[in-house]
Every structure is written in structure tokens, then in C-alpha cells.
Symmetry: C2
Subunit: 334 residues, 2 copies
DNA sequence: ACGTTCGAGTCAATCGTTTGACCGATCGAG
DNA sequence: CTCGATCGGTCAAACGATTGACTCGAACGT
């Protein structure tokens, strides 16, 4: 039953019309004028033969691929999983496919080479800095692109979340619980999200009339978080609460607290950014700030689809940011 | 600097040769005979103009897309993240792109429609049953396909891991620790992996000369695992160890143990299948069995690339399966 | 000296769709 | 009755790369 493959011409022959008619029927061309009866003959033939347009031919002719690219650092990171879901859903609702690639092994450059010319209509770069002038290369390739969730200096094509507000919400939560010595376990200084969360922390502390507690940076890993937390706890007046920039660090941070012989949340409260499912499995379950990651993915694709070659985009996606209170935060001990 | 786009003809004109020569140079056609000097002129022109073959035109002509598809249930599941990584790496090493889609919103059928005809050279189906005769539809579409990590009755096109052996390794570990009443918290009966792990459990128990402890099935979720574990613990002679088919269930199972006022591993040892990073963040860190998920992804792509239309594939991937001992297993209390 | 092979490329058909231009009836208006 | 519209389509030129067939001269063998 494996018929070679069905083309427009086959359908046209069966319906006894020109290929052009079939094409216009398939594409629902509004300028087409035909009898209802003819249209039905065409539709019947399409159905009968199981015709499906050949994507290659179509995109050769129209130079639209109906496909978007998304580049991420790592599939194992649940933050990107959320973004992918949103982007995929939006692409799907536009009748497009999303092809997601990761930095695994090769970098973005090699990846773009494999993608080749004319295969995608736009590229989303999530969580990638502008290593080695790639953005310039992308500009040359004449396909629209956008950075997602982080920026790079000098690049005016991004959409990000309001990490600053997320940080503020976390800090306000701690303040409302009665904490006054609130430290910040920041992310790596080169990460744009880390910088924005740190800014939010500082602003919120200022607003609350509190002195900025100690701030120490760590990379977004458990090991980094553990080391940083140890440092935070060995000061003369250790904090009673810590705003951690990232869940991976927070996992290590919690280990660090226990390592110092202290208990969460009795001795130290912890709150971190991004409400990953994993947070509820930690001990104690981690209080987090949830941000609309899927919406970010959706928005990225939407913008991409309507981007003119030289447009600049600098959008902070507004959307619900909420505190998910679990059991890693509590009022300070008396 | 945004030149429209460079075609073979442009390169040919610049190098003062025919398009055919350029094409053969690009594709390293071994039958081509040209002077070194000419080849260099062509290469120089390619470089100068920044020529990149148009994928659409190429695949229209050759009907090869240099792209593989991978369909998964959910990007947020770290099991699939591992598989994706392997598949992507292998695809990359073949100069191909991997496009991964998830069941989000729509099913495989709608997804295949969006992919369209001629966009991919092969399709990998991970963790999907054969809902509504899709495999038949795939067969008709004349693109090679393969199920990954699970089978469907009557379908002879799959590559899976040796879940049976993994289960045996888990059980043997418990036996070696001195456990005799070893229960099994199985996966949902419709899941192929669940069935194979259960079979492995039974075989290993038999080999150890132990009676099969109670077996109770749960779906692969924390809630399901918690409920199932409660049932296991309320028998007359509760088990001292439980082999759990899946980490998500194990997370719930651990909750269930605590809910019964017991402690892990003092009162109950727990071991689960698939060594996800997350396992080490649980409390206590979960002992697991690691299986070569990435290798499975790689193998899938490799097979796909060399699959003839009517080949049948039934492969159990052999590869290192190892116990990762953490702190959820210990000898039974005396 | 003449047929043959070889080196170095050239020619042009083809892949399957799309789309602007065109065309022959039929119909209504003047 | 004739001039335009309108209806219901048809025609054929792209899109960019691939590839089997072919050509044109020079060198070679005998």
C-alpha cells in the first residue's frame, strides 16, 4: 500500500482540473472562483489519494519554511522545558513547526550551519550570550532572530521576563515574614538574569528601608550554591533569610545550611526564582517565585513571526508573577 | 550588508564556471575532474559571497531532508531530555538536524501534519503507545520510523533498553543487603517499560529464591506512588524494601513511607529506575539504576538512517546498566 | 594518420508548488 | 446587437540545486 508519493499533478488529474486549481484550493486562496461542485471534486481527490503538500517544493517557491528555530543551552534544564512548551504551542497554532537545538557538543555557529539556508523563518536564542559575534552573523543571514530571557550588551532584540519584579516579590515576602537581615545568593555575574534579579533585590531592600545584607555570587549549580551559602553563614551576624537567584543554587544552598548545623526554615528561610516542579520535592519544599516561562516562549514566537528585518525589540514581558509559598520560609526565630 | 541571498548561479558566475561545477564541488562529488586552480576559484567565490546551499531546493531535488523527527510526550520529563541529547548528538554527527516535538495540545497525528511531506527523513517515537493506528499511517507515509524505549503490541520496529536487567540489578542490590520481603511498586500496566521492569522483578526474585512480595501498580506520578506505597505498608507483613519502577513514583513513595510514620532507609529501603539528577536532591538521596538513555537516542537515529522501508527492528540495546547507590537503601533493621 | 580515451567542464531536464497573466464563455447593460 | 464584466478556470514561468548525458580539445596508442 506504499504508494510512491502523491503530487499536485496526481490530484489535478484525478479531479480533472489544472494543478493551479488544486493549489489554490489547498491554500484557500480567496481570489479563487470555482463552482462548489469542482471544489468538492478536488477535495475528494485529495482525500482519496491522501495528498500532502511537499514542504520542500512549497518553501522553495515561497521562501517560507513554516518552521522556527529555538536554541537552548541544555535540554535537561527544566526552565527551558517550560519555554519550549510555550514556543511550541504558539508555533503550532500558527501551523508551524519548532525545531529546538541545544549547545551540546557544538555551539550555535555549527548548529546554524546544519540548519542551513532557508530552512527556518526565524531563530530564538534562549539563555545564550553573544559569543563571538554570532548575532552579527545572524544579522547577515537575513533571518529574523531574537534573544529570549537574557540580553547581551549592545543587542536590541530581546524579550525577557521581569526578573527584577520577581526578586522584589521574593524579598517582600521575606520582609513581611519579619526578616531584617536578608542576604542575597546571586547568580554568576555574567548572566543577565542574575544581574536583573540582583537589581531587584537591591531595590526591594531599599524600598523596605533595610540595609543590603551580604551578597555573594555563585554559578547556577548546587555545588556553587552550597559553597556560597557556607560563606554567607560564617559572617558575624548571619542572615535569617536568603533570596537565592536560582533553584539549582538553592538546592546547594539548602545543603549548605544543613552543613552548618542549622535548620530550614527555623534558622534560615530560603526563597528562589522559578517555580520548577522539582522545588516541591526538596526538603523542605522550596518556596519559589513563579514566572510565566511558557508565555515567554509563546511571545518569542509571536514576535518572530511579525518581525521586520531591521526592527528592534526590547520587551519586558508582563505577566503574572506569583509567590509559591512552600515550607522553606517562615518568620525568623525570636 | 544584508544581501538578498546567494545562489549557486551567483557563485558560478563569480568563479566563471557552470553551476554544475559548483554543485559538485560543494558536494565533494568524487566523479568530478577539475583542475586544482578551478576548484580554488570556486571555493574562493563560495567564501567571498558567503554561499550556503538552499535546503529547500536541495531536498526538493534529492528528496532527502537531512532532518530527523523525534516525538516525545513531554519536554519537562528528564528521561526524554537524556534521549534527546543522544539523538541530537548522533544526528549532528551525520550532518543532520533533529526536530523534537511533544504531545503538547495535539497528538502525533496533528504533529505529523504540521511536519508535512518531505521535511524529515525519519521519525522516532519515544514513549508513545500506538494510539489509533498511527503506526499504520506512518507506514503509509513511506518514511522510516521507529519506536524508542517502548513497544506496542504487533509493532516490530523498536529499540528499547534492557529494563528487565535493570530491575534485576535493583532487586539483587536489595537481596545482597539482606532484604527478603521485597515488594514491587510497578508502573501503569499499559506502559511497556512498566511491564518489562515487573518481569525483571519477578525473575530476580525467583532467582534469589524469594517469594514475590506484594506488587501494586501506580501511574508514573508522585501522587500515584504515594497512594500505592500506603497500600503496600498496610499489609500484615509489610516489606522491608521496595523496588519502584520509576523515579516520579518513588518521590511519592518516599512521601508515603514518611506518612506511615516510618523512616527511609531504616524501616524501608527504596530503589528506583533511571538515574535522574533529581534523585540526588531527594531526601534521603535516592538509590537508582542508571540506564544508557542517551545511547538509546543515538542508536535510534543511527538505525533510522540505515533503515529500509520494510525492515523490521527489534533491538534491546545492550549497554552499561549500573546501580547508583545513594542513601535510600540499607540493610533491613534487625 | 586515425580511432580512442581522458581531462575538464557544460547542458538542460527535473523535483513539486505557487502565482501573475491570460482566455473563452456567459450575462447584463445600453 | 455589441461592449464590457464576471465567472470559472488554464498556462507557464519561476524557485535553487542536482545529475545523467554530452561536448570539445588534447594526448595517446598503434
Amino acid at each position: 500500500m506504499k504508494r510512491s508519493r502523491v503530487t499536485l499533478a496526481d490530484v489535478a488529474a484525478m479531479a480533472r482540473v489544472d494543478r493551479a486549481v488544486v493549489s489554490r484550493v489547498v491554500n484557500k486562496d480567496p481570489t479563487l472562483n470555482i463552482r462548489q461542485e469542482t471544489r468538492e471534486r478536488v477535495l475528494a481527490a485529495i482525500d482519496e489519494l491522501g495528498y500532502r503538500p511537499n514542504v520542500a517544493a512549497r518553501s522553495l517557491r515561497t521562501s517560507r519554511a513554516h518552521m522556527f528555530g529555538l536554541f537552548i543551552p541544555d535540554f535537561a534544564n527544566p526552565v527551558y522545558a517550560e519555554i519550549i512548551k510555550g514556543a511550541e504551542a504558539e508555533a503550532a497554532s500558527q501551523g508551524c513547526v519548532l525545531v529546538t537545538g541545544s549547545a551540546i557538543g557544538a555551539g550555535l555557529g555549527e548548529y546554524m550551519d546544519r540548519i542551513g539556508q532557508g530552512r527556518i523563518d526565524g531563530m530564538l536564542l534562549a539563555g545564550a550570550g553573544d559569543e563571538s559575534g554570532l548575532t552579527a552573523q545572524l544579522d547577515q543571514s537575513a533571518i529574523p532572530w531574537l534573544m529570549l530571557n537574557n540580553r547581551s550588551r549592545g543587542v536590541k532584540r530581546y524579550v525577557i521576563l521581569d526578573d527584577q519584579q520577581a526578586a522584589a516579590i521574593a524579598v517582600e515576602h521575606l520582609v513581611r515574614l519579619g526578616h531584617r537581615r536578608i542576604a542575597h545568593l546571586a547568580g554568576p555575574s555574567r548572566a543577565d538574569t542574575a544581574a536583573r534579579r540582583s537589581a531587584g533585590y537591591s531595590a526591594a531592600m531599599r524600598d523596605a528601608g533595610l540595609p543590603e545584607g551580604p551578597i555573594v555570587a555563585a554559578d547556577y549549580t548546587p555545588a556553587g550554591g552550597a559553597a556560597a551559602m557556607s560563606r554567607l553563614l560564617t559572617g558575624p551576624e548571619p542572615p535569617t533569610a536568603v533570596f537565592v537567584a536560582n533553584v539549582a543554587s538553592a538546592i546547594g544552598a539548602m545543603e549548605g545550611v544543613r552543613g552548618a548545623g542549622l535548620e530550614i526554615p527555623r534558622d534560615v528561610s530560603i526563597v528562589a526564582v522559578h517555580d520548577l516542579e522539582l522545588a516541591s520535592f526538596l526538603h523542605p519544599p522550596l518556596t519559589t517565585v513563579r514566572m510565566p516561562l511558557a508565555a515567554l516562549g509563546r511571545r518569542g514566537v509571536t514576535l518572530l513571526a511579525s518581525l521586520k528585518p531591521d526592527d528592534t525589540v526590547a520587551e519586558v514581558l508582563s505577566g503574572p508573577i506569583e509567590l509559591i509559598q512552600r515550607h522553606s520560609t517562615a518568620p525568623p526565630a525570636r
